[in-house]
């Protein structure tokens, strides 16, 4: 047998549950019904009309795009560009932050949505060597954590945050070594240098990566070279070794599920999720969003929220079925992202102010979660 035949001989034939098939069919049927309904109705274009694929109304190539995906967007040119430049000059020093990811896009930053490892959440935990809960009195460090986790952190804050993680990770690495596994801990400054949303000026990032990883840039694999070098630890592990690795990581991180450190981790994770929901409801954020929307509209792009803007490109990118489509979409995204830079800097400054002002709310959420014995399962 050749290697292909060996693999072919071990082909599993799993079957989906009946309810899964029915659920999937219902999802498709709803989508089909939506299009059928839309086709029987007069064409309606609204700023709030879902969903979200961007088109240029003045572009004749739009004839092949589905009507329901259309949304109005005006591409203004020199007049709008001049307006953006004026605004950029006005607000250019407001934020040191170079990332352009919107703080309102809370869908992926911290909440695990599947069996994949939780990303940010455990980073909110106190070091495993400490029995104390999150040091809420240390406002500066807490703010650095929050700003970074909420994606409005500066480079300096990110380094502070990563240093904290590195200290925790060093303990894990020692523990993993004792368990027979290599576990590389990187220098936090190198981390920040490696990640372009911290290392690049915002306008340079926008020109190169558009709106970031969740837009077309991700599909074009522009971030693939950002692979965590420490992932090399995992490359040569067999499936069984990976399982053992996972078990060891879990044991090294949280050997005692009832320990104060784990309880603090769970509580901070839950508090963060609740805080993410709370901040956008603040009147100042509502006003800042309106200001942001007007700023971007002045540049010729109509969106009601940062999340809507990001989702529109993310959706369109996911729907693209060829590299040519992606590249066309990415060109649009870059234009939008560049226009967005000064607008979002204003928004981020307002967002940071609100986070600072409502720090007490976070501590209350944390205390409540800690008192209620929040578990990881309660998060997300």
């Amino acid at each position: 047998m050749n290697i292909d035949e060996v693999v072919a001989a071990h082909r599993p034939t799993p079957l989906p549950q009946d309810d899964v098939v029915g659920r999937h069919r219902s999802t498709l049927d709803r989508r089909i019904a939506a299009e059928s309904t839309a086709e029987s109705q007069p064409v309606r274009r609204s700023r709030n009309a879902p969903p979200a694929q961007i088109i240029h109304l003045d572009d004749p190539r739009n004839g092949d795009r589905s009507g329901h995906q259309r949304r109005s967007r005006r591409r203004l040119t020199t007049v709008a560009a001049a307006g953006v430049l004026v605004l950029a000059a006005t607000v250019g020093t407001l934020s040191l932050r170079s990332e352009v990811d919107p703080p309102a896009a809370v869908d992926t930053a911290g909440a695990p949505t599947s069996t994949m490892a939780a990303p940010a959440a455990t980073a909110m935990a106190v070091p495993t060597t400490s029995a104390a809960p999150v040091a809420l009195g240390a406002d500066a460090l807490l703010l650095a954590r929050l700003y970074t986790l909420l994606e409005v952190g500066t480079r300096t804050e990110a380094i502070a945050f990563f240093e904290e993680i590195a200290a925790e990770e060093a303990n894990v690495a020692d523990c993993m070594l004792a368990a027979g596994f290599q576990y590389t801990v990187m220098d936090p400054t190198e981390d920040v240098t490696r990640l372009p949303w911290y290392s690049m000026p915002a306008d340079e990032f926008a020109a190169r990566y558009g709106l970031g990883n969740s837009g077309a840039a991700g599909h074009l694999r522009l971030f693939d070279d950002l692979r965590d070098p420490a992932e090399d630890d995992l490359l040569n592990l067999t499936s069984a070794q990976r399982q053992a690795y996972n078990t060891a990581v879990g044991e090294c991180r949280r050997s005692d599920p009832n320990s104060e450190a784990v309880r603090a981790s769970n509580a901070s994770e839950l508090a963060l999720e609740q805080f993410r929901e709370l901040v956008p409801t603040d009147d100042r954020i509502v006003a800042a969003t309106a200001t942001w929307s007007a700023c971007l509209a002045a540049a010729g792009f109509e969106y009601d929220s940062l999340q809507e803007m990001r989702n529109s490109f993310g959706t369109a990118a996911a729907y693209s079925t060829s590299r040519a489509q992606l590249e066309e979409l990415f060109a649009d995204e870059v234009v939008t992202a560049i226009a967005n830079v000064p607008c979002q800097q204003v928004f981020d400054a307002a967002y940071r102010d609100v986070v600072l002002d409502r720090l007490g709310d976070f501590t209350r959420l944390y205390d409540t979660a800690l008192a209620s014995g929040a578990t990881v399962d309660a998060v997300g």
């Binding site: 290697i3 989906p16 498709l28 980073a123 949303w197 599909h219 992932e231």
Partner: protein, 220 residues
């Protein structure tokens, strides 16, 4: 011509009968025709779901595990429905086109998670083993040592490599179809497959159960 002397109502019926006899009364309608029909009658797209859902779900399950297959297979068909006007049957079979969408949907999902993970370095670095192919066997307890070794080797591949080898060996796509689905030149498909085979040979115990004729016998 006989038809020309028939009453118009009968001629219409004959036309309809002719259409029906060619399509709905025995002769299979190919996927491309259904796609075309769904442009004016969207409900027809449901037929394609019935034909291909199992294939799509199974592919996702093999590459990424049951949970993600349960979560994403519906998205594949919604995306396919949205993009059906761009389907070009001269470039790829509908099923291959679906594989491409499934691969993109899966990558999109993983990328959105990775965005968060990258931003936080190794704060929660842990291997995802939920997609271990061995979990796809209902009788995993009874698998032979050899089977476990093979499945384990597949599970140890990177997800991209696993996509490639499984699309080729388990799903039966040709080099040309792989190139279309993965949007890479056909030469890249060949070189990547060669590399993946080499990786599998490294991972599998040298029990002498196979000989390396893969490259010579590969499909065109």
């Amino acid at each position: 011509m006989i038809g020309s002397v028939l009453p118009s109502s009968i001629r219409r019926s004959r036309r309809e009968l002719s259409r029906l006899s060619g399509k709905h009364c025995g002769m299979p309608i190919d996927d491309a025709e259904v796609v075309q029909a769904s442009l004016t009658d969207p409900a027809r797209f449901g037929e394609l779901f019935d034909r291909h859902h199992l294939v799509v779900w199974t592919y996702l399950a093999r590459v990424a595990g049951r949970d993600l297959a349960d979560e994403l297979a519906a998205d594949v068909f919604v995306v396919a429905f949205e993009r059906r006007a761009s389907f070009d049957p001269t470039r790829a079979a509908f099923r291959s086109w679906l594989y491409g969408i499934a691969t993109n949907v899966l990558r999109t999902r993983l990328r959105s998670e990775r965005r968060g993970r990258l931003a936080f370095a190794r704060a929660a670095r842990q291997v995802d083993v939920s997609d271990d192919p061995i979990t796809l066997f209902d009788d995993a307890e009874e698998l032979s040592t050899t089977s476990r070794a093979v499945i384990g080797a597949i599970g140890a591949l990177t997800r991209a490599d696993r996509e490639l080898i499984l699309l080729f060996v388990w799903e039966g796509l040709s080099y040309a179809e792989l190139a279309e689905v993965l949007e890479v030149p056909i030469g890249t498909v060949r070189s990547r497959l060669s590399r993946v085979r080499g990786r599998l040979r490294e991972l599998l115990p040298s029990s002498g159960q196979y000989v390396d004729t893969s490259e010579r016998e590969a499909r065109p």
